[in-house]
Symmetry: C2
Subunit: 223 residues, 2 copies
DNA sequence: GAGTGGTCTAGACCACACG
DNA sequence: GTGTGGTCTAGACCACTCG
């Protein structure tokens, strides 16, 4: 088996996984053995298997070795654009209007994620060519963005450039526009709207945000 | 500047990006220089900068060097579960019902992505504890899955394990249930539903699928 | 042509987790 | 304790692309 390069090694490993040469749930040879078999350095095998592990095709553990998951979960990288750039990329002119910015008590539904202290609550409307594009409903830990005003710069944009985060969750769902939401977004009540919830943590909660997009919006990404 | 390990190198680079030591649009020192400055091997710098590039914080090009993008696009890895596993993970019993499987002409809206020849059109309903969970509406290139029947095994599941793909797109949007859709999913007409469109290519189209979830569904992922 | 990132190698040590 | 992956190093060559 002549292998040259880590991508070839990855492809061969993936072939064996698919061919069940390495059956689901089973352990595969360790890096040193594969390096010897394929005639490459162990670092090359490491790179190949690490890549497959990141894509969800393998599970690796020190001492435990490398295994083929019984239930593979494919992973895709998803590009998360800043709203303003998203609008510009469509050839439209972005607009922004701050709706509210005050300290508030966290709603019960979010309390287990954000804690029960008061947090900064910012709501804002993003516009494309002057028409409503996306409603941003955000809760911010008081310790971040202290003193920063979001009159003209959206919290969305400020956070991307200024906050490191290590953990978070992302959720997509659909909601029907109620009357006030319909009025804000300028759509019919009952319209189906895409909502994206994002939670950001880094040793404690940083921010929770729900973005509600105007009807017809598609959030697309390449894989 | 004492740096130990590629993660420390990455953190220091990220700090410089955020601090505008390396301004947006600007070029950063090359790997050899940073390796000398930080007292690490070039491979370590490479690993650090490659990681930042994958996350969207840097753009790297041979000969052109490494630059800080003017408009950073954050990237997140998104886990794409098999529907059946998704249901099991909720502690529910998955069910599956094939609704149709026939060769059909591609609708105009998809023709530019799939070509204009006839394709295999498969529709199926996924159930959780016997109630509708997700409608799968799929177009398949005739050359894949030839002879495979989807009576009991969903195309969703078969494809994950058996098809390599190199490219694709993913899109989230919301749609309102029309009458037939409401009947299929057992919900009220007009209900807001999350839809996920996924296109898969590998030297030509492989499949296009729209998954329409029952009301209230949230697609979540960690970051 | 030449500069820069991409990758490979051989060897080494370390950290973690399993028994 | 011990096996395995995680990582680092120093050096080398290659591939792409910019000027």
């Amino acid at each position: 088996m002549a292998i040259t390069g880590w991508q070839a090694a990855r492809d061969e490993a993936l072939r064996r996984i698919r061919a069940r040469d390495w059956p689901p749930g089973g352990r595969i040879p360790d890096e040193a053995d594969l390096a010897a078999e394929w005639g490459v350095a162990r670092a090359t095998v490491n790179r190949a298997l690490r890549d497959l592990a990141e894509a969800g095709y393998l599970e690796r553990r020190r001492k435990g070795g490398t295994r083929v998951p019984l239930t593979p979960v494919r992973k895709a990288t998803f590009a998360i654009p800043i709203i303003r750039q998203d609008i510009e990329a469509r050839g439209q002119t972005p607009g922004y209007r701050l709706l509210s910015d005050r300290s508030d008590t966290v709603p019960a539904a979010l309390r287990d994620r954000l804690g029960d202290g008061p947090m900064r609550h910012v709501t804002a409307l993003h516009l494309a060519d002057g028409t409503p594009y996306c409603l941003e409903d955000r809760w911010l830990s008081p310790r971040v963005a202290e003193g920063i005003r979001f009159d003209t710069l959206s919290a969305n944009e400020w956070l991307v450039g200024n906050v490191t985060f290590s953990e978070g969750t992302l959720a997509f769902h659909a909601i029907a526009a109620d009357a006030p939401l319909a009025q804000t977004l300028g759509c019919d009540p009952g319209a189906a709207l895409l909502a994206v919830d994002r939670e950001t943590r880094d040793q404690g909660p940083i921010t929770w945000v729900r973005l509600i997009y105007a009807p017809g919006y598609r959030m697309e990404t390449g894989l």
